[in-house]
């Protein structure tokens, strides 16, 4: 045990603080807990001061890259004649990632309040929420929350002050992982195939309709109202100097209690597992992703890595979306990586050759390896193809496709070799299912 701190001390529910209240997702439920108070304070400030405030607070993007949110806002040129746009990336599709969807289902007004504040800051009169299409319950709640916000005057005519209207459009996507990439998202929102754009120009200069555009993740924007309401000093009491604040960690897989755990940045997986009952009874952690399948996998050696931008980076991976997918020893790592690679091949948009062709060949090789039909040199070939995608593709999808392959070869090369030597997969997939019988003699879950 690394820590004896109680969950009350280690967790910090802010966005999720009232999710268990029956009307949490309504305007009335949101207002009951100081909802739209951050907006009131922000609207009393000069837009540039709001940007500076968010920048000083140190809020960083929660969608994967961790870019400072205030700095993104600051890049928007001011005094130009062009319309400015805010586009919220709610295309949550990274395998393992499941934070924005429950957030929008239980607390959509935190996003809407954040949108109004951000639009005030960047002087935008029209914002969009690009929601992936495959989540109709969330779309339903967003439709209703936006209607309520219009009715209450937070959106619409003079929402940002006399003569300053604000429109908010909820836009449902149609099924394409690549649209989570911000420039592909913009192309998609313009009614085109979702394919990434060459940068520069960056969206801050030429984004939606070639106008200055900020693209932010749902959780980043939804974090702004509490920050404005309770202050940047309060925000900085959580997390570290470079990674301040609170965030949603999503625990999933072979753990005793999968779910959402909102905590200050820098909590460790060991702390999260210790407080939540560990792995499922009688099983041990084998490998995990810190932030979705595109972040290199880690093992039980990394249980004490602080889950913040620097900590996970220092361990050779990325904080990403904080999607902590935990797999125990019943899981075949080759099967896991093969399935992720099939996903990347399916979702590759086809624009650039390394990713389009490379992911296809990775899948062919992995199929052969999984069934033990490949030769010894094919593991090197696998790494070589991944190397030809990583950093050489048009966008980060290619890097993401290479990450599970590099990292699994780093930690589990021996398991790949067992597939080849034994002419097949040595694992029983039935043992990994949620309904598999627990191993004999086990009672409590163990972490590692």
């Amino acid at each position: 045990m690394m820590t004896t701190d109680s969950p009350e001390k280690l967790l910090a529910p802010v966005l999720s603080a009232h999710w268990d209240e029956a009307d949490a997702y309504t305007l009335a439920g949101y207002r009951r807990h100081e909802g739209y108070q951050g907006l009131r304070k922000a609207l009393a400030m000069d837009p540039d001061d709001v940007i500076a405030y968010v920048k000083d607070a140190g809020l960083r993007g929660r969608g994967g890259a961790g870019f400072p949110t205030g700095m993104k806002w600051q890049f928007i040129p001011q005094g130009d004649e062009l319309p400015h746009y805010l586009v919220v990336n709610a295309d949550e599709s990274e395998p393992g990632t499941c934070k924005d969807i429950p957030l929008l289902f239980a607390n959509p007004h935190s996003l809407i309040e954040g949108i109004v504040i951000a639009c005030h800051a960047i002087r935008s009169g029209h914002a969009f929420i690009y929601l992936r299409g495959e989540v109709v319950p969330v779309l339903r709640r967003l439709h209703e929350a936006v209607r309520e916000a219009y009715e209450a005057g937070y959106l619409g005519k003079d929402a940002l002050g006399p003569g300053k209207d604000l429109e908010l459009t909820v836009h449902a996507g149609a099924g394409a992982y690549i649209c989570g990439e911000e420039t592909a998202l913009l192309d998609s929102l313009e009614g085109r195939r979702g394919q990434p754009r060459l940068r520069p120009p960056f969206p801050a200069v030429a984004g939606l309709y070639a106008c200055p555009t900020v693209v932010n993740n749902v959780e980043s924007i939804a974090s702004v109202p509490a920050l404005m309401n309770k202050g940047k000093e309060w925000f900085r009491t959580m997390g570290s100097e470079k990674s301040p604040g609170f965030t949603l960690y999503s625990l999933s897989g072979h753990v005793a209690r999968p779910g959402q755990y909102e905590a200050p940045l820098g909590v460790t997986l060991r702390q999260l597992l210790d407080m939540s009952g560990g792995m499922r009874p009688g099983r041990r952690l084998k490998f995990w992703t810190p932030g979705g399948s595109s972040t290199p996998m880690l093992t039980d050696e990394h249980l004490d890595v602080p889950l913040d931008y620097e900590g996970v980076g220092g361990a050779g991976s990325m904080l990403g979306t904080k999607a902590l997918q935990c797999f125990d020893e019943t899981t075949c790592v080759v099967r896991a990586v093969t399935r992720w690679t099939e996903f990347y091949a399916h979702e590759s948009c086809g624009k650039c050759t390394p990713c389009r062709e490379g992911t296809y060949w990775l899948v062919q090789l992995l199929h052969d390896i999984e069934k033990g039909a490949a030769g010894p040199s094919d593991l090197d070939k696998l790494a070589d193809i991944a190397d030809n995608i990583n950093g050489k593709s048009f966008c980060a999808l290619g890097d993401g496709a290479a990450a599970p392959i590099f990292s699994s070869l780093q930690y589990f090369r021996e398991e790949y070799e067992r597939h080849l030597a034994g002419r097949g997969c040595p694992f029983d997939p039935a043992a990994a299912t949620a309904w598999a019988a627990r191993p004999a003699g086990s009672s409590r879950g163990v972490t590692a």
Binding site: T97, V135, T169, H171, A174, G191, H254, R339, T433, A436
Partner: protein, 257 residues
């Protein structure tokens, strides 16, 4: 494959030789008039009309259950695009169906985490139980079975989506019961989301027209149980660790599907 659409038109997958196809037929006048009014409302939400293309494709899908050549022609005419431009977009996104399908789209997540937790077993079980392959529809036109990618519900794995509503923590048994209920016409409610409507009605919501059932937005409460795990711990509500295996048997009556 020689799938034939409702209008007798060849499905996109068929390779054709010889003379090009004739332009798609238009909608009947009354349908066209109704859809045009909807389309104008959608287009009005965007500074640039082309942004309305994805919602319009959802709209035409809500009319016919899949995106037909007629639907594509309609989108093209409303947005002053060519049908080739519309087709290029319609075929890029997986939610647009290109052939007639069932009233209920049953999607089993088989991305890594759900697959390992049992999604593969559920998918196999449903294929056998329904007697259809992946992507096919049952003979009664009720259920189309598909494997889907990660649907952002990993803490509820394994997940099944029906018409894009959440059926969490599924087992092969619960999933077979689910499709039996759908085929028998029994009312089915998701673990998170509203009582099911048909695929066409779902597509209309996706086009940007709020669910006409006023109570639907309140169905299934603010959050699923897994979403609240951290909150409960933070409040000191510890309790005994939840038994994970077998998860399907630990659900409260009425909580699961």
């Amino acid at each position: 494959m020689t799938d034939v659409g409702t209008n007798g038109e060849a499905a996109e997958t068929r390779v054709e030789v010889g003379i090009p196809r004739m332009p798609a037929p238009d909608y009947p006048a009354d349908v066209r008039e109704r859809l045009e009014a909807d389309a104008r409302e959608i287009i009005g939400r965007y500074p640039d009309s082309r942004s309305a293309l994805l919602p319009l494709l959802h709209l035409v899908q809500s009319e016919e259950g899949h995106v037909t050549r007629t639907g594509q022609r309609f989108c093209a005419e409303m947005l002053d695009l060519t049908t080739a431009e519309v087709n290029a977009v319609a075929t890029f996104y997986t939610m647009y169906r290109r052939k007639p399908s069932g009233d209920y789209q049953v999607g089993v997540c088989t991305n890594t985490l759900c697959a390992v937790m049992g999604g593969d077993a559920i998918h196999d079980s449903l294929k056998e139980h329904l007697g259809v392959a992946d992507g096919e529809t049952t003979g009664d036109g009720k259920v189309t079975l598909e494997h889907i990618e990660c649907n952002a519900a990993c803490d509820f794995a394994p997940v099944v989506m029906v018409n894009w509503e959440f059926f969490d923590n599924q087992t092969p048994e619960s999933a077979r019961q689910l499709v039996d209920d759908l085929r028998a016409g029994r009312e089915v409610s998701p673990t998170r989301g509203a009582p099911l409507c048909t695929f066409k009605e779902t597509a209309r919501i996706l086009a940007g027209f709020p669910d006409e059932r006023r109570e639907a937005v309140h169905a299934s409460g603010p959050a699923g149980p897994a979403s609240l795990e951290g909150l409960r711990l933070a409040r000191g509500e510890t309790g005994p660790p939840r038994v994970v295996a077998p998860r399907g048997e630990t659900e409260e009556p009425g909580e699961g599907a």
